[in-house]
Symmetry: C2
Subunit: 288 residues, 2 copies
């Protein structure tokens, strides 16, 4: 069984394009429709209730504009607080970034243990960098504990990293200084740091560099590739994979300012986007 | 004639509390109802059309919740693009922060000229620091030109200053480095720098400090006090001033996350606020 309909992907704005990039790389024959809710970005500072409302609005907006077969939530904040509400709202497979990211962190941890670097605690812990909403939710800690990870998981809210990534200040003194300040809160026994926000891959090299100074041997994990792999598995399980050799199409929708999405696309998506190809749509507020 | 009804004040979020603070200081007998649209903050990166829609929504939300006699737009981005739409939408005096801020800059410029510091150009220019929306609008340049200011007005978008102010990182290396980077774009002949965003007063001391290094003798102007003075004049002109000796009341409304508004109030408003006194309201979307 195959299904040539597109995968729906949404994020509060441009951050999810890092996940879309991984999806396109891992699933080159799958079509996608990506929605960035740029009229209401960012979500990371909002209440859980408001994030749930916006997430369900976005799912309905995608359903209105595309005949999608599955929904990828390319946003940590939404995945942390709204995944159940989304599963209730739509009748298709829904995948978030938290579970694949947590899984990738556990794999990195077992690699680390097998290497047992001398600089490292014998039972290293995991720290999540994320938005205030993701940190407050405790979602990564819950998923990691459910998978049998015994060490307490810590989380550090890093509100300045999103604007730094969007401003394009990803090298030099400023990001290094900002990241140093956030990394001061790292526990001594940290072994794996999860990039718990889809904007952070743009700063991955600086985070890794500073981490190497503060906690030599610790590993940085980004859940985008793991999310793409989990999506591939889910599609297969549901008989929703695209036909072999299919030529994919890719659409980008935004709720505001297509020009800005186009300007940021190269850094986040890894390719240029023609601004006129980005569709400006209204948010759908009500149940359809 | 007097009028004891409150003044309505709104902003995208907490930034406008710096204007509310100036209003309360200048008009101690006036009551106020402040709305922070924290469910959709920030506005500075959004399109003009979306900012206009949100601004009119906010005016209607204030009208629904308070019997207000005048409307103060405590946000530069809204004042820059939506002031005419607001004047069409409500039947009461509407005052923004751009005209008073521009007026204050011209006064500072004439003080500067009378002092003619040797480090300064004989006809110093004005630079505005603001959000992308305020900079793109060219609103300050238009108002200054209309008032006969001949030098070209420059504007620098400083997207990182809002998150820095909200994160409370207003001293030390990080804000100094970020501000230095933005001030690199200052013209050589700058005499006055306008803080064209209601968040920036929290960083005024660092901006002034760095400016003193880059452009000795230049002056930093913040429009909050000028806006409060202009509001006092407007109320008097319309017979809307409160009775002498009136005991004012002050209400704070938000569209999301009252706790966060309460946490940021001390830095922006200069006083603590009981979180339970902040009213959570829904945005009014439609014309009433």
């Amino acid at each position: 069984v195959t299904d040539s309909r597109p995968i729906g992907v949404f994020d509060s704005g441009v951050g999810g394009l890092t996940v879309l990039r991984a999806l396109k790389a891992a699933l080159p024959t799958e079509s996608t429709v990506y929605l960035g809710d740029t009229a209401r970005v960012p979500y990371g500072t909002r209440s859980a209730q408001t994030v749930i409302t916006y997430a369900v609005n976005n799912a309905r907006t995608l359903l209105k504009h595309g005949d999608i077969k599955a929904l990828v939530v390319a946003c940590n904040t939404v995945s942390a607080v709204a995944i159940e509400a989304l599963r209730d709202a739509v009748s298709m497979p829904v995948i978030g970034v938290i579970e694949p990211g947590a899984e990738a962190a556990l794999q990195a941890l077992s690699v680390l243990r097998s290497m047992h670097p001398s600089s490292m605690s014998s039972s290293p812990s995991i720290t999540v960098l994320g938005t205030q909403g993701t940190v407050r939710s405790g979602a990564y800690a819950r998923v990691l504990a459910a998978r049998g990870h015994a060490q307490p998981t810590t989380a550090i809210a890093c509100p300045l990293l999103v604007p730094l990534a969007e401003e394009g200040w990803t090298t030099g003194d400023v990001p290094a200084l900002v990241i140093d300040r956030y990394l001061q809160a790292l526990p001594a026994d940290v072994g794996v740091v999860i990039l718990g926000c889809t904007h952070y891959p743009l700063l991955k090299h600086v985070i890794a560099q500073r981490l190497a100074i503060h906690r030599p041997g610790a590993i940085v994990v980004d859940g985008a590739a793991a999310t793409a792999a989990a999506t591939a598995t889910l599609l297969k399980e549901h008989g929703l994979s695209s036909p072999a050799g299919a030529t994919p199409s890719h659409r980008l929708l935004v709720t505001d300012a297509p020009q800005q999405m186009a300007a940021l696309a190269p850094a986040f998506l890894g390719e240029t986007v023609d601004p006129s190809s980005i569709e400006l749509v209204d948010v759908i507020f009500d149940a359809s």
